[in-house]
């Protein structure tokens, strides 16, 4: 076995040193009825690299990769170009094969990247502080709801009709278990401002998303203005972090907590994970945050250094009183994010956001020009919803025959909501003019 360094002689020698007859001696506490005599039955034995690689490659070929042709799927995960150096950096042994930086003297590399990441995320969102990542945007959203209840000592949260339904469902799961009531507004392409009407003085927070799952960009300032006098918090959610290069930030909208998905910067689509949840808030709520935080300090020689800090919030110290049960987070995806963001800089990010927006404008124009298409999203960043006279599942399946992956049907997001003919489509810098033309042409054919 290529991964096991002990030789038969080593094993014999070591048993002798230990004074054991065989490894069976070590398993003496296992109930006799549960001791397996040999390898687990019905499973194959070891294989060489060649065989394993062949098998995995075969499986991978059964999937249609986003780069294989025109591709317009978004809804919380976006196809972006990742600079080659990002993947090189995250494959450095010292980043890839290390643990959570519990021993700061030999983990300053990881810790400094965390500190840089926290600074970048705070600046991008316009918020005071950011943590060192959550699993993904959806779990960050759920944790934000629970945190808002902790902060306000209230037990009701309100979710907008444009919040990504997976985020809403994840939030409901966590909240219901914690005895928190969840009020969910009806799905709406442009309904974030409805949150203002749903807030009263029993509500811990209102959760709105911009751009929302239909692509609609909304200034949530009025929602915050309605919530704050009632003692409720505004939680702002985003699933497309690149939008922050152009769109009004959660901080500028007066959000108390802002959470989102960071996948678009540095992390491949990867069929849904691992991704990187971004979690930010106002300074005054810092001690109520979930997750790890890195802070600046000095070492015994007085030199600047970084450590994990405020750990009395966390499970390994506070146990059942912790702000969250999270332990392992999204470390390496955080590194990919911060490395890609460092390559972009403000200049690159604004540029990238502009290209995304322009691609979406082109897509909207091209689709709207197709007979029978109605674009529903009037203010958007890189994603739009549109409606045709035909059921979306049939339209998408027919587009697939033209090798166009046209987006997500709204009925997959919100089954039974009467949105059977709606499709949500995203365009990024990866969509070429010919991709967009191919989409419009195929759609015209399909709708004819």
């Amino acid at each position: 076995m290529r991964y096991l360094p002990l030789t038969a002689d080593d094993r014999a020698d070591m048993l002798k040193t230990i004074g054991a007859k065989s490894v069976d001696d070590f398993y003496g506490d296992v109930p006799a009825s549960a001791r397996l005599k040999g390898p687990v039955a019905g499973l194959p034995n070891f294989q060489g690299e060649l065989e394993v690689e062949r098998h995995m490659t075969k499986l991978s070929k059964k999937n249609r990769a986003a780069s294989d042709g025109p591709f317009f799927v978004g809804c919380g995960a976006y196809k972006h170009h990742i600079p080659a150096s990002v993947d090189h950096i995250i494959q450095r042994s010292e980043f890839l094969t290390t643990y959570t930086p519990y021993q700061p003297e030999i983990a300053q590399g990881t810790l400094q990247t965390m500190f840089e990441f926290q600074t970048q995320v705070a600046a991008l969102t316009g918020m005071d502080v950011a943590n060192a990542s959550m699993y993904d945007g959806s779990t960050a959203c759920a944790e934000a709801a629970v945190m808002a209840c902790r902060v306000t000592k209230r037990q009701t949260v309100v979710l907008s009709g444009g919040l990504h339904p997976h985020y809403a469902d994840t939030t409901r799961t966590l909240c219901e278990a914690a005895g928190i009531k969840v009020i969910q507004l009806a799905p709406a392409v442009d309904g974030e401002l409805e949150l203002s009407k749903a807030v009263d003085d029993t509500v811990a927070c209102v959760i709105g998303q911009s751009p929302n799952v239909f692509g609609t960009v909304t200034d949530l300032t009025p929602v915050g203005d309605a919530a704050h006098p009632k003692g409720a918090l505004l939680v702002a959610v985003f699933t497309e972090v690149v939008s922050l290069g152009l769109v009004k930030t959660p901080g500028e909208m007066g959000a108390d907590i802002a959470v989102g998905e960071g996948q678009s910067i540095g992390v491949p689509l990867g069929f849904g994970g691992p991704y990187v949840g971004l979690f930010t808030c106002k300074s005054k709520f810092m001690r109520q945050m979930p997750g790890r935080l890195c802070g600046e300090t000095v070492d015994a020689d007085g030199k600047r250094g970084f450590v994990l800090t405020l750990s009395t919030r966390e499970q390994h110290i506070r146990r059942d009183k912790a702000t969250s049960n999270i332990c392992t987070n999204s470390g390496l995806c955080m590194l990919a994010f911060t490395a890609h963001m460092t390559l972009l800089g403000d200049k690159g990010l604004t540029h990238l956001a502009t290209l995304n927006h322009e691609a979406a404008c082109d897509l909207a124009d091209a689709l709207e020009a197709v007979k029978g298409v109605k674009v529903l999203t009037s203010r958007f960043f890189n994603e739009i919803a549109f409606e045709t006279a035909k059921p979306a599942d049939q339209v998408l399946a027919a587009l697939e025959k033209h090798d166009v992956i046209g987006g997500v049907r709204a009925s997959r997001l919100f089954p039974g909501a009467g949105m059977d003919n709606v499709i949500v489509a995203a365009a990024t810098e990866c969509c070429t003019q010919s991709d967009i033309k191919a989409y419009a042409a195929a759609l015209a054919e399909v709708l004819r």
């Binding site: 991964y3 096991l4 054991a20 398993y27 003496g28 506490d29 397996l36 040999g38 390898p39 294989q47 394993v52 098998h55 075969k58 070929k61 990769a65 919380g76 150096s85 950096i89 995250i90 010292e94 094969t97 290390t98 643990y99 959570t100 983990a107 500190f115 840089e116 600074t119 705070a122 600046a123 699993y135 997976h166 994840t170 799961t173 914690a178 960009v217 769109v247 009004k248 069929f271 994970g273 810092m286 802070g295 600046e296 300090t297 007085g302 250094g305 800090t309 966390e314 499970q315 049960n325 999270i326 392992t328 390496l332 800089g345 403000d346 927006h357 909207a364 203010r379 998408l396 997959r412």
Partner: protein, 523 residues
């Protein structure tokens, strides 16, 4: 002064003093000084060359960003150097033994990295039509099949994103099962041994349960009498969260009796499977009466820890809990594999616990690892992991204090007994290891052992590497007993000295600001 035969000086003293601490550049040989990107980058710079925008009029409806982010950029050569320099301040498995108990820091095979990056896995979208991702669904199915067979459990929830998230899946399934029995409001008490990892009580609390701690017996296992006394009135018991092998590195020998007691009391048995590496291929948790158990793919199945994550925590479930598994899950149909994504199609499911379908990037890596080892290799993994730990235990027994008698499983636990009256503490031993070129062991965990030092070598260490490590740690133990004062200030040879954690927490600075830069310049 020492000279070699050609007259070349071999000692630093020849150049007049050590001079290793102060250099003009701030660097020390291979160790490069490196500032923050905010100090070395600039907002004029970028490391990406993008197409020229056309100048389309924006359709953001006026919802535009006010102030720019002000974030600096770096060109590619500068960025690569920045991160490579930082990387050299990190310890890593690829550098040496990483004996962090409970964390299973084993070698991360590079084949796994390669397969995870195949475009058919890395470049597929979670919401693209399911007919176009059948290979991805097959990966999940194939891995799920292995996990169920290795554990002898009938179902597995694949979406949990780490161990703690798997605990959440299991406890939410238990909660749903109790609600279905009409006992959701009455059964709120969850028994958790004092030795449990912090995520166990944190998870149970997150699900609205009340934690009732059970003591450890003198032999490091659950105190069966204490457990029984907590079950005398059991009408409020929801279940137990028990780690096996436990965090003391020991197999809970009464585990079947514990399972029976809990089941008789009307509760469920959650097993924390973080330490599955010790028993994979030798014991199937399904044969022990377990109702739910998470498996950390980032431990037993070698997906890289990446400096804190990501992980993946598939959770196997018994027949009693399987109906409550989270969505999405895969079903077989005439047209191939398909996800059940919504509650309406799975009304008993406790719901969704994250967007999309779990940590696919970890699934491909773990499957490549599992196929590489096969059923026979995985059994060997457990045996070698346990053999290595027992070897360390045997070699260090004469100079340190084993926490318990007898053999251990995959990790060897020591108390600070041998440090009594020396003034040296567990943390000093840990920091001393750094100077010897090792990552420290897990320290002060589990809480049931005073000054705990938990050493987990894993199976991917050679005997020579184990010997080198044991020699180094034994020498530190001897220095401690001789009250060597230099241990109190160790490490001396690492990229940083001991860091002031109190200062960091007192007035937290969690991001760079121009003021902190000014402060630094003034120092």
């Amino acid at each position: 002064m020492t000279m070699n035969s050609t007259g070349r000086p071999t000692s630093i003293a020849a150049n007049g003093g050590s001079g290793t601490d102060v250099t003009v550049s701030g660097s020390k040989g291979l160790l490069q000084a490196e500032g923050l990107i905010f100090e070395i980058g600039s907002t004029d710079k970028t490391g990406v060359d993008l197409a020229k925008p056309k100048g389309t009029k924006n359709r953001l409806g006026g919802v535009t960003r006010g102030a720019p982010s002000g974030l600096p950029g770096l060109t590619e050569p500068e960025a690569v150097r920045h991160y490579v320099r930082l990387s050299q301040k990190n310890y890593a498995i690829d550098l040496g033994l990483f004996p962090l108990g409970s964390c299973t820091m084993k070698h991360n095979p590079r084949l796994n990295e390669k397969v995870a990056r195949l475009p058919g896995f890395a470049d597929v979208h979670p919401m693209q039509p399911q007919a176009t991702v059948q290979g991805a669904l097959e990966v999940i199915e194939e891995l799920a099949d292995w996990l169920m067979k290795l554990t002898n459990m009938p179902a597995v929830a694949m979406t949990p994103k780490a161990g703690a998230h798997g605990e959440l899946a299991g406890m939410l399934a238990i909660r749903a099962a109790l609600i279905a029995r009409g006992e959701g409001e009455t059964r709120k008490r969850v028994l958790v041994p004092v030795s449990a990892h912090g995520t166990n009580p944190a998870t149970a609390a997150q699900c609205g349960f009340i934690i009732d701690e059970i003591n450890a017996a003198a032999d490091g296992r659950v105190d069966l009498e204490d457990l029984k006394s907590k079950l005398v009135d059991s009408s409020d018991v929801a279940g137990i969260m028990l780690t096996n092998p436990n965090t003391c590195g020991l197999f809970e020998r009464d585990i079947k009796e514990i399972a029976d007691l809990i089941h008789k009391a009307g509760g469920y048995f959650y097993c924390d499977g973080a330490n599955f590496n010790a028993i994979v291929g030798r014991v199937r948790p399904g044969d022990l009466g377990v109702d739910a158990m998470h498996i950390n793919l980032h431990k037993t199945f070698s997906t890289p820890h990446g400096g804190g994550g990501p992980g993946s925590g598939p959770t196997v479930l018994s027949a009693a809990l399987a109906p409550y598994a989270p969505v999405p899950f895969i079903v077989k149909t005439d047209d191939g594999l398909r996800f059940v994504e919504h509650h309406d199609e799975a009304p008993e499911s406790f719901g969704r616990m994250c967007a999309f379908h779990g940590q696919m990037g970890m699934f491909t890596r773990a499957l490549a690892y599992i196929l590489s080892h096969g059923a026979d290799g995985l059994r060997q993994v457990a045996e070698d992991a346990v053999l290595n730990a027992n070897y360390i235990l045997a070699r260090l027994k004469p100079v340190m204090s084993p926490a318990f008698e007898g053999y251990c499983m995959h990790e060897a636990l020591f108390s600070d007994g041998f440090l009594k009256d020396t003034g040296v503490e567990t943390i000093d031993i840990a920091k001393g290891l750094i100077d010897e070129g090792y990552h420290p062991m897990t320290m002060y965990f589990p809480l049931v052992v005073h000054g705990a030092m938990l050493i987990e070598p894993t199976e991917t260490e050679s005997k020579a590497e184990l010997d080198r490590f044991c020699n180094a740690l034994a020498s530190i133990a001897r220095r401690a007993v001789q009250k060597d004062p230099s241990l109190k200030t160790a490490p001396h040879l690492a990229p940083a000295r001991r860091l002031d954690e109190t200062r960091a927490a007192r007035s937290p600075r969690l991001k760079w600001t121009p003021e902190t830069a000014t402060l630094k310049a003034a120092e």
